[in-house]
Structures are given as C-alpha cells and as structure tokens.
C-alpha cells in the first residue's frame, strides 16, 4: 500500500484534521487506491512539456495602491465564533 497508517496520520496532521482510530485503515486503503489510480499519468512522456497552471486569458492586473480608511471590522468579525473587542479570539497559546 502506497499510503500506510503512518502516512495517513502524517498527512492528517499536516491537514489539521483529527482522524479517528477506527477510520484509519479504511481511509489508508481508499487513499492508496486513489494514488495508484492517478499514477497512470506516468505513462505520459512530459519531458519537454511546460506545466499549465492558469488557463485564463486575463493578464494579471495591477491596481492603484490607494489607502482605504473604511473601518469594516464589524463586518469582518460578524461571523467569528469568538471575538474580543475588534479581534478574533482563539484558545490561549502562551502560558
């Protein structure tokens, strides 16, 4: 299997997703079969091919650097699970 239990736990950690012990085996096998399946791309010779990351015809535009003094902190914070004055609040990180 390409993706064993430890690899699954490692990428779950990188993804910041807690995986339940009972799910690990099934998940590892599903992820492995997906990775096995996408590896058919190795049949294609791409030695001289450039990667395509943007199919848009638009040129990356520049905008004028104009100061915006509008205070929209209320809107920005309107969906925050926890806030304190004009800040997002999170669990304590330093003792």
């Amino acid at each position: 299997m390409k993706i064993d239990k430890n690899t699954t736990l490692k990428i779950a950690k990188l993804s910041r997703i807690k995986i339940d012990e009972s799910e690990i085996d099934e998940l590892s096998s599903q992820l492995s079969s997906i990775v096995d399946w996408v590896e058919q791309l190795n049949e294609v010779n791409t030695d001289t091919v450039e990667p395509l990351s943007n199919v848009s015809m638009a040129k990356l535009p520049l905008r004028k650097d104009i100061e915006n003094l509008k205070d929209n902190s209320e809107e920005v914070l309107s969906n925050a699970p926890d806030k304190l004055e004009k800040y997002f609040a999170v669990p304590k990180v330093v003792e």
Partner: protein, 472 residues
C-alpha cells in the same frame, strides 16, 4: 400558462398579465409541494416577500424572474453553507459578483439550492443537508440528480424556478443537467467572476447556468458574464448579446467527433443518442469530422491531483477562527483546529483534502502535482489542435443515465468516473453546454455535450439551439 421559461414569463410580466407577487406565489407553492426533493437548503417565504416589497422594476428580461441560487454563491440576504456543516450558520457580509448582477437585473431569489459539500461530488450525496432526489426518479427508486449542482438542476427540472445558477469545476453543471434533463452551460474559465463563490479548485471553478431551454440559458449567461476587478482571472472582454445573436443555421460548419470518447464498457444507449445527434447535425448541413484528443484518458487522473491539491489549500481557511464552526473541544489552538475540521468536514471533503495535502507535500510535489499540470498542458493542446479542423465538438455528457441514490458510494474512483466526458474541457478552460437529447431504455434523460473554443459561447448557443429545434 405554465411559467416554465424566462422569455415567455418575462412577456407576461411586462404585459401585466401577472404581477411579480403572483408569480412568486406560484413558485413558492411549487417548492412547498416538492419539499421531498430536498432541492433547497435555504427557502424562506418571508425573505421572498421582503424582496418583492422592496423591489424596483428594471428594464431587463430578468425583471421579476424567480431564480434559484446554488448555495456556493455568497448572498448578503441569505445564509451560505456550501453544503457543509462547517459553514452551516455562515451569513456572508457581502454579495457575490454573479448574484449581484442578477439582483441588478431585477431577479427574485427563491432560495439557495442544495449541492455536494464544497461542490465535491457527482451525486449530491455528500451534502451535509442530505441528498437531493432527482425529480425524474422512477417509482420507489430515488435517483441522484447528479452533482455537485444537483439542487439547481433538480429545481429547474421540477419547475421550482425559471433558472438557476451553478458552478462547474469538473462537470458539476453539465453532469446534473444531463441527469435531470435540462440545459446546463459552463462558460469559458474567466468569463464570469469567481468573486464570492466559495472556492473549491480555483484554476477550474466557473459559474454557469441551468434552464429549461437554450434561449433562456443565453439570456442568463449574458447577465452573469463580465469583468470584475475583484477576480484577477476574470477576462476583460465585451460580452455579446448571446440571445439576440443566436443563429441556428449551422450549414457550412464542421463538428468534431473525438474517437477517444468511445469508451469501452459504456452502455449502448449513450452511443445511440450520440449517433442520433451526429445525424441531426449532418441533416443541417454540418460537416462531420472525426478528430482525436489523444490525452483524454489522462484527464481524470490529472484532475484528481490538481483539484484536491487546490482544494486542500483553499480549505485551509476553515480553521474555526474567522467564521464557520468551532469545535467545543478547544483546550489548545492545535486541538481546536484539528477537531473543528474533523467535525466540520464530511468524508469526501476530508479524503480530497488529505489527497491534496499528500500530492503537495515535500518530496511528492514534482511526481504528482507538477506532472499533472504538464499533462494538463497536453490536454489543452489536444483541444487547440482539434479546433484547427472543426468549429465545435460533440460528445455524450455522461457515461450513464442517473443512478440510484446510494450507488457507487463504496468506491470513490467509481464515483469519479461520472465526470469522464466533462473533465477534459474543464482542464482546458473551454466552454461546454449539455442539452437533453433522448432517453435511456428506462426512460431517463440523456444529455449531449457541445464544446467550443475559449470565449466562443455564441457557437455553443447556436449549435445547441439547432439541436434543440431539430430533436423530435
């Protein structure tokens, strides 16, 4: 008057045969009588009444026209969930570009339609708010509407609205349109702004439209297209009047028939419908040209590297801090992140985030992500070469008719194969439209897909209009 098309309904409104309020009540009743379809995540009578009492008439075909909005578009007056538990209480503080344009034309929003969670799915079964039922389901056998924009496709098919928005990343408009027997168009990447659309895979995501006929799709497409400085991939081009310019005379045009879309193991009825469409085109004076898109079979695996990779990056924002769900298990910041995402995301979303993280992780990036991007170049080049010999391409939309809810759930790859005919165009960024063109042996709708060059939506509407008129 049945009130199933925008064009006719708009005339009725203009000639005061019916008021916007009366029209809305008809659709509110229809939705209430079809709650079993589970097509809407948000539907609230008071909200609609409020829109009507504060309505200003606009000089537009869309004035007063009741539409449904996929719940992936941020709407200031309605919650936006993306079909996910993690956003179940999210109320956007701003309006998406596409919905803003529709409101400016005077459209009425009936509600927000159900979809696969974060648009990841081909069956609408990954929604936190439950599966949508295909309105054409056979007796005692609920069928999927397709996905991810399944609620929008079902709502249009059941006449619960006169048109609906969708988004298409790898087939999420065209596949459900085919399964529900309606018209679905995904325009060129960059034609519509992605501003305010909950992001899945940013290099592929595009807004589009579901309607009951080609004329209406041209009307709505024109309304939502256009440049927006908030989206740096949005194209700054003049948008034609697609509807007024429709010319269903195709004589002298050439259609490309790609041999690679003859996939082994596909039900014969799919090829029958395809053959029939070819014959109908031939009768209209269209030259039939056999073409080759040699890298077609690599489109799906390339897509299932690129889309999850971009999704894993895009979905990093759901961390329980700025908006959305926060887990009660939050004694430390790390635990809060991990538990929030574990409780908030469904199975398919987790799988894709994990795959995306894997293919982007140190040591694997070149082997997977970069490789897939190179294959993407080859797929895009296939289309560019093909268009030297033809004006548009005709293919089936899906490899099967709608299947029962619960099928293909045991094996993610089986589910992914639904998009075998729609993903290549998504990778190339070219536009595609699916129109109903026949029935399966069980009597379920089957769609046919037309593909064109970048920004040549007019040719799509022309060819689709011809096929629609000449389908008997």
């Amino acid at each position: 008057m049945e009130f199933t098309t925008i064009k006719e309904t708009s005339e009725q409104l203009k000639n005061k045969k019916i008021s916007i309020k009366e029209l809305s009540e008809i659709f509110i009743d229809r939705i209430n009588n079809n709650l079993n379809l589970n097509a809407f995540i948000y539907f609230n009578k008071e909200n609609i009444h409020h829109q009507i009492t504060s309505h200003f008439d606009k000089k537009s075909l869309l004035n007063g026209i009741p539409l449904a909005i996929k719940d992936l578009f941020c709407t200031k007056s309605m919650p936006t969930t993306a079909g996910s538990k993690i956003l179940k209480d999210f109320q956007p503080p701003y309006e998406s570009f596409v919905t803003h344009k529709l409101l400016n034309e005077g459209a009425i929003f009936l509600g927000k339609t159900n979809c696969d969670e974060f648009a990841m799915g081909s069956s609408n079964t990954t929604s936190y708010f439950g599966s949508v039922v295909n309105p054409l389901s056979l007796k005692n056998k609920p069928l999927v509407p397709g996905g991810s924009s399944g609620g929008s496709a079902a709502a249009v098919a059941a006449n619960l609205c006169l048109g609906a928005t969708g988004t298409d990343t790898g087939g999420s408009i065209r596949q459900p349109a085919s399964f529900c027997g309606v018209v679905g168009i995904k325009p060129t990447y960059g034609l519509c702004s992605r501003w305010g659309i909950v992001a899945f895979a940013s290099s592929l995501d595009q807004a589009g439209i579901f309607t009951n006929n080609v004329n209406d799709s041209a009307i709505l497409m024109q309304a939502i297209a256009g440049h927006d400085s908030h989206d740096s991939t949005s194209a700054n081009i003049k948008i034609p009047n697609y509807f007024e310019s429709i010319n269903a005379d195709l004589s002298g045009k050439t259609v490309g028939i790609p041999s690679e879309y003859h996939v082994p193991g596909i039900p014969e009825e799919i090829n029958v419908v395809w053959e029939k469409a070819i014959k109908v085109l031939e009768r209209g004076g269209v030259k039939i040209k056999n073409i080759s898109l040699p890298h077609t079979k690599y489109a799906l695996p390339a897509y299932y590297i690129i889309a999850p990779a971009e999704a894993s990056s895009n979905l990093a924002r759901y961390d329980g801090v700025k908006y959305g769900l926060r887990s009660k298990n939050n004694t430390s910041l790390d635990e809060m992140y991990e538990m929030t995402r574990s409780e908030g995301f469904g199975k398919e979303v987790k799988r894709r985030v994990l795959i995306g993280t894997y293919v982007l992780s140190a040591g694997y990036y070149d082997a997977y992500y970069l490789k897939a991007q190179k294959v993407r170049t080859l797929i895009a080049n296939d289309f560019m070469n093909a268009y030297k010999d033809c004006d548009f391409i005709l293919t089936p939309t899906t490899p099967s008719a709608a299947f029962p809810i619960g099928d293909k759930e045991d094996d993610p790859i089986k589910m992914y194969l639904n998009d075998v005919f729609t993903v290549p165009a998504s990778l190339a960024g070219i536009p595609g439209i699916s129109i109903p063109f026949g029935k399966s042996q069980q009597g379920l709708p089957l769609g046919i897909q037309l593909l064109c060059k970048h920004f040549d939506e007019q040719t799509l509407f022309n060819a689709a209009s011809y096929l629609e008129k000449n389908y008997e």
